[in-house]
């Protein structure tokens, strides 16, 4: 038994290190993009269009990961695109977590009419196709980073609210809450001091997962050309361009796709790894 458990722990540890490592690397690249990007991501060079990446015959050593059909440097666009991806992940993820968790806590702890309203909204939200909803919201608010973040918060708050509500309900029924109340602690203070710390690990896990989802939503919106102005390179925008020239210049699709894939995978593995860490059964 002991042997099996430690093997699980070791595998979970490796998973945390690998995914955390990639995210640190990508976030660092995003932060330093203006200084480390070899070219201007928007500069077009029509004579150097569709140059392949360095490991393919005929590559230009100036463009490590090749160029797209307008001759823009793929590596520089990738690095600048990471800025958008991580900004959206961080801000949208946190904002969604705060709104969703707050509503979930209130509904699960106070019950009554608050719970009825929140639950009804969750039901309605569950009947929307989320991607369509996001596209609709962006169409309403107009493209831009702020619009994307607001759209993600509006669509995804239910992910937090659903889970946190159930947990808060479970915690609220436990003896320690009753004894805190007997000891004279107020309702709201009980919620903050007794319930929130116990629900926090769940919120952190969900937040990690939500960051991955935010990156994907941003990419999807860029893909349907609704994200940000064309002046700002994004992974989704690069993928959309790559999709159209897939037979002529596959690397324009492959490079951002690999970055997006690894980032989304890492967020999700990080979340799963944290879940195992927090799980009292494995701890």
């Amino acid at each position: 038994m002991l042997d099996g458990r430690s093997r699980v722990r070791r595998r979970a540890g490796l998973r945390l290190w690998l995914s955390g490592g990639w995210l640190m690397l990508a976030a660092g690249a995003a932060l330093l993009a203006p200084w480390i990007a070899p070219h201007d991501p928007l500069a077009q060079d029509l004579f150097a269009g569709r140059m392949p990446p360095f490991w393919v015959q005929g590559a230009d050593p100036l463009y490590w990961l090749g160029t797209d059909s307008l001759g823009r440097d793929v590596l520089s666009r990738l690095l600048h695109g990471a800025r958008v991806a991580f900004a959206v992940a961080l801000v949208a993820g946190l904002a969604t977590a705060v709104l969703g968790a707050a509503l979930g806590l209130l509904a699960g702890f106070y019950r009554g009419w608050v719970d009825m309203v929140v639950s009804r909204f969750i039901d309605i939200w569950m009947a929307f196709p989320p991607v369509l909803f996001a596209i609709l919201l962006i169409a309403v608010m107009g493209p831009g980073l702020t619009s994307i973040i607001i759209a993600i918060v509006i669509i995804d708050w239910t992910r937090f609210a659903r889970v946190v509500r159930a947990e808060a309900m479970g915690q609220g029924a436990m003896d320690y809450v009753a004894s805190a109340q007997v000891a004279g602690r107020g309702r709201f203070s009980t919620l903050l001091v007794e319930i929130l710390p116990n629900v926090l690990p769940t919120i952190v896990v969900l937040l990690t997962l939500e960051m991955g989802i935010a990156v994907i939503v941003e990419a999807i919106l860029s893909f349907v050309n609704l994200s940000i102005s064309t002046d700002q390179p994004t992974w989704g925008g690069m993928i959309a361009e790559g999709r159209t020239s897939i037979h002529q210049a596959w690397w324009v699709l492959v490079v951002p796709l690999v970055a997006l894939f690894l980032t989304v995978l890492s967020f999700s593995q990080l979340g799963e790894g944290l879940k195992d860490r927090f799980d009292p059964v494995l701890r």
Partner: protein, 334 residues
């Protein structure tokens, strides 16, 4: 039983009404002016007002909503602004494509996920189960959109065995009277067409199916493994049955029920995923039409599509509830 069903139905109706209100309000604060785009150059402000009145856009949002709701109850979903055709006809014309794609993805997911769960249970505790778990983890970590792109690269470009765009090859003569191409091609015994349609649908269907397959595999395997510890399974072993027989006959029917409810919710996620997957594979279904409608600011069409999606989502959940009751002998007699 009846009381529960009625309550359930009422709650579903409230949800649908909520969806309608939210879409209606959201799209009416769209800053872009759909009417302006329809006007020919040199149109006067009077022309614009007349056009607005024609589409009812000059009234208050509440008024517009009740007019629209009254129409819906009579089966009239309004007229599309961009195509000037009735919304209901447009939407119903595209619905079969999306339904066929979703159902194909569901079938793939159930078969693939079920097979993985059975294999993982049969060889539990070994390398095979570990491999199944790793595969599931990967499939779950990455959404359908990315799987679609990976599939396009692998089987559309590197090893082009499937079509990556459209629903059917445009050069083919289509003898169809309905839009259920896949279904009708089988009925008409046109297996050449059927093969072409499947070659188009397969990639988007696999992309949609992968995450669901992984969820089914994971839940069902968990549930199977729990069931394998139960006394009736042990008793079955002492009767002389081998492991495979015990898993499929004794454990499976009892392990399916807890999986079923969750699969219902997940299937609605799959249907929601068709929106972007159809776009990715240029598949002419509802989702693709929805994105065009948003880009064209075609308000009546957007409303119609969203309501239809909501109807499908809630309908799926109702069906799953019903299935659960039918499949569970304990509830069936209650």
């Amino acid at each position: 039983m009846l009381r529960r069903s009625l309550l359930r139905l009422a709650s579903t109706l409230v949800t649908l009404l909520g969806v309608a209100v939210i879409v209606f309000v959201v799209i009416r604060v769209v800053p872009g002016n759909p009417i302006a785009m329809m006007l020919p150059p040199g149109a006067t402000p009077e022309d614009e007002l007349r056009l607005k009145a024609l589409y009812g856009l000059d009234k208050s949002i509440a008024e517009q909503f009740f007019i629209w709701l009254g129409g819906v109850l009579r089966g009239d979903f309004g007229t599309s602004i961009s195509t000037r055709q009735p919304v209901l006809g447009l939407v119903l014309g595209r619905l079969p494509a999306t339904l066929e794609l979703s159902v194909m993805a569901l079938v793939l997911a159930v078969v693939w996920g079920g097979a993985l769960a059975l294999i993982g249970t049969r060889f539990r505790g070994g390398r095979t189960e570990a491999a199944v778990d790793v595969g599931n983890g990967m499939a779950l970590s990455v959404p359908d959109f990315l799987w679609g792109l990976v599939l396009i690269l692998l089987f559309g470009v590197l090893w082009p065995v499937f079509h990556i765009s459209g629903r059917i090859s445009p050069s083919l003569d289509l003898p169809f009277t309905t839009n259920f191409y896949l279904f009708e091609s089988v009925l008409r015994l046109r297996f050449d067409l059927w093969a072409d349609i499947v070659a188009h649908m397969f990639m988007p269907a696999v992309a949609l199916a992968l995450p669901l397959a992984a969820i089914i595999a994971q839940l069902l395997k968990q549930s199977l493994k729990e069931t394998m510890h139960l006394d009736y399974v042990t008793l079955s072993r002492t009767k002389g049955y081998d492991e495979t027989h015990v898993i499929t006959r004794d454990a499976l029917p009892n392990a399916v029920l807890p999986t079923l409810t969750l699969v219902g919710v997940q299937f609605t996620f799959l249907i929601g995923g068709t929106v972007i997957i159809e776009r990715l594979f240029s598949y002419e279904g509802l989702g693709n039409m929805a994105i065009d409608a948003v880009i064209n600011r075609d308000l009546p069409l957007i409303q119609g599509i969203v309501i239809l999606f909501a109807l499908i989502f809630t309908g799926v959940n109702l069906i799953v509830d019903l299935l659960y009751t039918v499949l569970n002998p304990r509830l069936r007699h209650a």
